[in-house]
Symmetry: C2
């Protein structure tokens, strides 16, 4: 890799008439290339012809199969052939269309818009119901309080309970998980229909409760769920005759592209902000983004936002499509240049505030986890924690109580609308001419200044939001943070308005200060700081429908990001750490010391490998002791030249073939044939006996995960299913060679016990312990004899089988039927951490082998990399060197390393080549 970046071509410039041109294709190369082209052209035309033939055959095959097996229940008479042909044609057309991306994206946008709209509708009804209850009981404050408090407690408790029972994966935001999934890691049960139902209903209830929770993160998850389910649903049409396993593997990159688009749809739909949605989802979920997938996000998000807003128009909520939180700031003079310092202050303060929010959120989670007593108690009564939190928050916001000082009676969106109001509160008081008069009044308390109300609101909502988002319900934190930011901006704006009642502008016209503009800036800055994104600026413009404050917003967002990123990880990265998701952390800004860490410092030197000439016993041992998914294949233990990597499953299949029953029967048959020549024996065993014994055999019982999700189910058979399905991919190759009623030998069983443990990552993942002894040394000596479909009788004793297996294990491995990945990713010792990180992120790698001139010397996995990055991030004492210094050092150190490496190479080469050369010379001497 080290040479790739430096290996560039410098091209000469040639001046022609229109444009200059770079002459690369010309010259001698043309002749050389012409010959090659002719040759390759022939080859290609041949391959194209064969491909066309393939295609024909494929279509024929499909029709034939379709007629034969596709509709056996419809076609009873041959007269219906015509209909069937038509159906097949229609279906083929559908299939060819359905597979196209844009159809999928339109469907996704449509579904998501509908889901979003229905959810919004339900949430609005829920919130109205609370208001109605609260308003109806205004005769008795206690009753009012009870109604005010009970309603959200019931809803939140229901939401928590429902998601716990149905799909605990639906809890929380969803963006951290999507980030991990888009990184290429498979999170189990995360994109299932159950999770979808749990998330949608749970989220509706949670938001309907009026707690300070957001819907943007969950919407990303819901959209991804929609995409995954839609893709499954469409593969019913498109992939009706395809082998799912093949599609699953090959189609994966497309799936990830679609999920990325879905994330954009989620955000876009939530805020009716297609551009901001795409950018936000890119910033939040991707490390490297393929520009060629850009259009997918825009397409789907635009369509979705369009439908989402059209539904509002059709529902007569609005006259036409406009922004969700439309503002009406003046266009001609949105702000004065001299106001910019105030905007910058908002940005910097928001940066600190955002970092504080992330820290507070993490602190609460960690505190609750550390307190063993509380934790134990709450783990038993799972619904108590959300109920208590809700009780606390709703008590504090009770409008006749403390809520009157913090606009407690407003819902989240009402709060936002009032905060973005384009009138000044401090000077003019709350104006009465607008239609949302009742809402703005909530900020004005007869005894208390509007500044006090705002400060109280900010402080109370800050910790309330940080606390509420730790509840185990589907919820995000974007919206609450957004509202707090808007309040903070409004506070600064009102202060400015009070300070400069006639505006700052000096010459002529009076342009009063617009506190609403400050609110917009504050909202963008704080949400940008918490999520570490810049695109909140775009979201804000799309939400408010005005872009006049673009420069203040951009300045504040960038400053907020600069401050927040240097203090804390983003909220999503923080949750990734809390949840211990397998995600690679980002390299921080300007951590130049990371250029000095090299792969050799972090790699695992004790690599498990197999050699090309190893015997099955080695294979067996390696499989028993290791738990890696892939194993390195080297030429020999001395040369250590890396030839490729083999998946564990492949090796298991190899071993099971070697030790499996067919091979043993073959052996018996041969032995019998040899025996036959010597003496004649008649033996007859009845089939029933054999069948009975088959059912006695030890089957591969796969232990299920200790799932706390389904503790109530009494059926013992059921949990087996998903577990079996899970291992099916691994076991498939082994099932093909072995016959259904197979006693696959002892060593093999041990092996599968081991392989079972490596699947998934159980809590007590004690891989290194030897397999259970009762499997290794069976206590009862059963004489197994099964009649084959041929005429051979399996009459070996366990001891004989063991002996035979020992014999088999000493044979050399035949890698003929084994899938080898011939080019696993390789790094070199000197590769810097920075480069390794880039390559891992770019290619979505899981591990990479470290080689030194072809020789395997170590392996680096995501784990080591993560540790190295986090380790050096937390080390405070590391002196940050001048940025260019590290380059010089690395230059010298690399040349040293090269020298040593080359000495090694040289030594090795001599030790390898000299004996060979030596041998003939010796023999020459001998022959002389």
């Amino acid at each position: 890799m080290a040479g790739d970046s430096s290996d560039q071509r410098a091209l000469q410039y040639e001046q022609t008439l229109m444009y200059g041109r770079y002459t690369q294709e010309l010259g001698v190369y043309a002749k050389e290339e012409a010959a090659r082209l002719r040759e390759s052209g022939q080859r290609r035309s041949v391959s194209e012809r064969s491909r066309a033939l393939d295609l024909l055959e494929y279509d024929k095959g499909r029709c034939a199969r379709c007629r034969r097996s596709g509709y056996p229940y419809v076609l009873e008479a041959p007269a219906q052939d015509f209909i069937s042909v038509c159906t097949v044609r229609c279906q083929k057309f559908l299939i060819s269309r359905v597979g196209e991306d844009w159809i999928f994206l339109i469907l996704l946008g449509l579904v998501m818009a509908l889901v979003s709209w229905v959810m919004d509708f339900c949430i609005a009804i829920c919130l109205q119901a609370q208001k109605w209850m609260y308003g109806g009981l205004d005769s008795n404050v206690l009753l009012q309080y009870l109604a005010w408090v009970t309603y959200p407690v019931v809803l939140i408790t229901f939401s928590a309970g429902f998601t716990q029972i149905l799909a605990p994966q639906a809890v929380g935001s969803g963006i951290p998980e999507m980030k991990t999934i888009l990184r290429g890691v498979v999170l189990k049960e995360y994109l299932t229909f159950k999770t979808f139902v749990a998330k949608v209903i749970g989220l509706t209830c949670a938001l309907g409760s009026g707690m300070p929770l957001g819907k943007e993160g969950p919407f990303v998850h819901v959209a991804s769920l929609c995409a995954a389910l839609l893709s499954k649903f469409m593969s019913l049409f498109g992939g009706i005759y395809e082998e799912p396993s093949l599609i699953g593997i090959k189609n994966e990159s497309r799936n990830i592209e679609m999920l990325a688009a879905a994330c954009a749809v989620g955000v876009g739909c939530c805020f009716a902000a297609p551009i901001g949605g795409v950018l936000f989802s890119i910033e939040v979920t991707s490390t490297f983004f393929a520009v060629r997938n850009y259009w997918r996000g825009f397409f789907a998000a635009t369509f979705s936002a369009f439908i989402f807003r059209v539904l509002a128009v059709w529902n007569r909520d609005e006259e036409t499509i406009t922004a969700l939180f439309k503002t009406r700031f003046r266009l001609d003079f949105p702000f004065d240049l001299q106001e910019l310092p105030a905007f910058a202050v908002i940005g910097i303060a928001s940066g600190f505030g955002g970092a504080l929010f992330v820290y507070l959120n993490r602190l609460i989670v960690q505190f609750m986890r550390k307190q063993k007593a509380i934790n134990k108690f709450l783990m038993k009564k799972r619904l108590l924690y959300p109920a208590l939190v809700t009780l606390l928050i709703s008590t504090l916001t009770f409008p006749p109580g403390f809520g009157q000082f913090m606009a407690g009676k407003l819902t989240q969106s009402e709060t936002l609308v009032t905060l973005l109001d384009n009138r000044t509160w401090a000077k003019q008081g709350i104006a009465e001419e607008f239609d949302y008069i009742g809402h703005s009044e909530a900020w004005k308390h007869p005894q208390v200044n509007v500044f006090v109300t705002l400060v109280l609101f900010i402080v109370m909502k800050f910790w309330m939001s940080a606390l509420a988002t730790t509840m185990p319900v589907p919820c995000g934190a974007f919206m609450p943070v957004f509202v707090i930011g808007a309040a903070f901006g409004r506070l600064v704006g009102e202060s400015m308005a009070a300070w400069f009642p006639d505006g700052i502008h000096t010459d002529g016209t009076i342009y009063p200060i617009v506190p609403g503009g400050y609110a917009v800036v504050g909202a963008a800055a704080l949400s940008g700081a918490v999520t570490h994104t810049v695109s909140t600026a775009v979201i804000v413009f799309e939400l408010t429908g005005q872009i006049s404050h673009i420069l203040p917003v951009m300045i504040a967002v960038i400053l907020a990001n600069a401050v927040a990123q240097s203090l804390q990880p983003s909220l999503y990265d923080s949750i990734i750490r809390i949840k211990k998701l397998p995600y690679l952390p980002e390299l921080g800004w300007g951590h130049h010391e990371k250029y000095n860490i090299r792969v050799e410092d972090i790699m695992v030197r004790d690599v498990r490998y197999i050699t090309l000439n190893c015997c099955y016993r080695d294979l067996h041992n390696v499989l028993l002791t290791g738990n890696l998914k892939t194993l390195a294949l080297v030429e020999s233990a001395e040369s250590m030249i890396l030839l490729g990597s083999i998946e564990r499953a492949q090796l298991q299949s190899l071993l099971s073939q070697q030790l499996g029953r067919p091979r043993r029967l073959e052996y018996i048959r041969e032995r019998a044939a040899a025996e036959k020549k010597r003496l004649l024996v008649l033996s007859n065993t009845d089939n029933e006996d054999g069948n009975q014994r088959a059912s006695h055999e030890v089957r591969f019982q796969i232990s299920t995960e200790e799932s706390s999700l389904t503790p109530t189910r009494p059926v013992p058979q059921k949990p087996l299913k998903p577990a079996l399905k899970r291992t099916s991919v691994v076991e498939r190759p082994t099932e093909i060679p072995t016959s259904p009623h197979d006693n696959s030998g002892i060593a093999l069983k041990n092996l599968f016990c081991a392989s079972r443990d490596t699947e998934g990552l159980e809590k007590n993942n004690n891989m290194e312990s030897p397999p259970s002894p009762e499997l290794r040394r069976p206590t009862k000596r059963v004489r197994i004899s099964v009649v084959d479909d041929g005429d051979v009788e399996d009459d070996m004793t366990i001891r004989e089988i063991a002996e035979w297996e020992e014999m088999q294990l000493d044979e050399q491995v035949n890698f003929n039927n084994c899938k080898i990945d011939p080019a696993p990713f390789q790094l070199v010792e000197r590769t810097s951490l920075h480069k390794t990180h880039t390559i891992f992120s770019l290619l979505g790698l899981d591990h990479a082998y470290v080689t030194s001139i072809g020789r395997l010397i170590g392996v680096v996995s995501l784990k080591e990399l993560r540790k190295a990055i986090e380790g050096s991030v937390t080390v405070k004492g590391v002196k940050v060197r001048p940025p260019l210094a590290s380059f010089r050092d690395s230059g010298t150190s690399s040349s040293e390393n090269e020298a040593t490496e080359l000495h090694k190479l040289w030594d090795r080469h001599r030790s390898m080549s000299l004996p060979r050369e030596h041998t003939p010379s010796e023999s020459d001497e001998k022959s002389q």
Copy 2:
């Protein structure tokens, strides 16, 4: 590679109180890891300590060196030591600050804003001057015409001539070249100060002429030039003591990040659109984008746009910072839902129009190139073409002539302002109350309808812009296209307004149609179609300062992109093809057949390689016959196991060491020592003779490129310089070992003749021909004898030298002092074209080796890949198969391939291992 994507980890979900958590780190792994950590912790602490020591030494070294050599001219007395220490400290502080990215970005933004503002100012003055001349001569139409025509002809001719003479690289847009540079290819002389001057002055003149040319592409180039020059300038501080070659190589990724940010600054500054600028530059220049570099672009572009607009405020052009082309559409009801079909029509028509524009532009270039007669004539009179084009265009726009029917007297920005006007022309006529009354009037002709004017404007400007952008001056096409799009949108809008005079909305209020909104949509759609970008939508919002039309704009832009992308490449890709820049084309949408092309179909099987035990003669031959920059190093010709790749320069250095004079002198010394023992000979040669001969020696004269750029320069020595500089990187390692007055042997000279040809890509690049015979067999037999600094006399004849060299060439190569890239990028035969393309784009590769289980079987370079992609794109007859079909095929074919590969492996393994195993058994038999 094939296994990386499928090698994923499925993690289990564990339910905890707050968030679920994925248990991966737990279990046995912890124990294992603890031990490893302890070990590695020790190792790290050791390495950290040594690093700290390094650092100390480094600092000391710097000071010491600084005192010794840095300021020898300042420090004459030791009393000045104190000052020097202070200076050093200050400088160190500066260095540590100057290297930080944000300082660089702020400086870049500042410089670019100033450059942009000054250029805009000059352009405005130029345009005003034309108007003034035209207005002053209103007595005589002929004089008026002459003034109207001569002025732009002179400016364009000057611009073309100036750039031709100073830096022909400054011609054209610059975005295609930046795309290529960001891909990792070095374009010579493209980022120099000369080019900067040529581009800035040329662009100012070109735009000042009033031709339909754009400034956005050139601004990208200018910003990149600024960044490159600024980075050079700052390395004067930061890298004062660094070896430039090391920085050059290591700092490259940072440079590319900075260039990407610079592109964003360029667009952002041009339109005062920071967000749109960042997005547009990403879409236009990148294939894969690192999200961690996102902030750089935003930061720099925001700062730059801010300064750019602040300058306008300070210059009293504006009261405060607002959009460049501010619109004043109504906010409450921007458009009706029923108008959306019209917007969609604009989008689709713009798509076709955009494709037509790209096609027309390419057609003109190709036509001019193909017509040999015209081409020859124009090549001689280079300035004639731009002069003629300018004459034609300015004649047609002459306001009293044809120009009166197409608003010819308006400048580009005036046209845009009038088109975005929020009043309706058709119904109300041109209103007179606004301040730009004179401009809007230009559209109204007493005899002709406003529709006819618009249609004429669109048609005429369309081909004029396509023609004008082919002139060899610095110019872009974005702005003209933008204006044409706005005119088209305005046309549709006016038609709608005429069709529905009272608006479409039915209930109650009358909302008349806003044709200005249609103009906004049209502008975004057409420019999006020509450039294949979606972010023109954002640019439009930032330009107009209103986001109310977001949905129509998004819909139109997406539709326009869909249509245009399926018909033609983007304008920039088209120019890349015309200029034959080494860029990898994108894989088109839904070209599913590309999944079926594999690396084995396109790779070059005849790889040039060297073996670990090769002799210098092989090296010599390989270097003489090949022209690759890197060569593969394999274990042996039989095993073909790829060990790494070596740069050509390294091999040349190896060879020159082997055949160089020091080694020969060593040989002579040894021979002389042996001789001395036998007989005593006295020999004395005078030094002058030797020196004279040295000047007679054949020096490495490097043939210069046939540069047509500097035909007027009479000095013959001058063109040598750049060429020498160019080859200096390659020759540096060879110059170090050889002494200044060196006759480096014959074979070596041949080699350098060859190496010289490979540097750059000359027109007559006849690599395969043997080197010139007079070098190979010198005609006169000079007896060369030079006295060394020691006491050995070089008295070998040419024949003796040749013999000695032959002897040397037969020795085995010692790779000890040779830099080997131990992990060049590897692909396998079965890697699909799609995947190869992704990997090449992601990692910016130039070539990759194709291996089959460690064995080198081929090589794929950018060239083959490009050919394969373009080939399959242009093949029209290829049937597009249902998207999932290809996966099935690939599944089966891959397993077949594996089988054959494994047979090969097996055969190879047997052939390699059996003899080895055989030998001992034979010897065993012998010993028995």
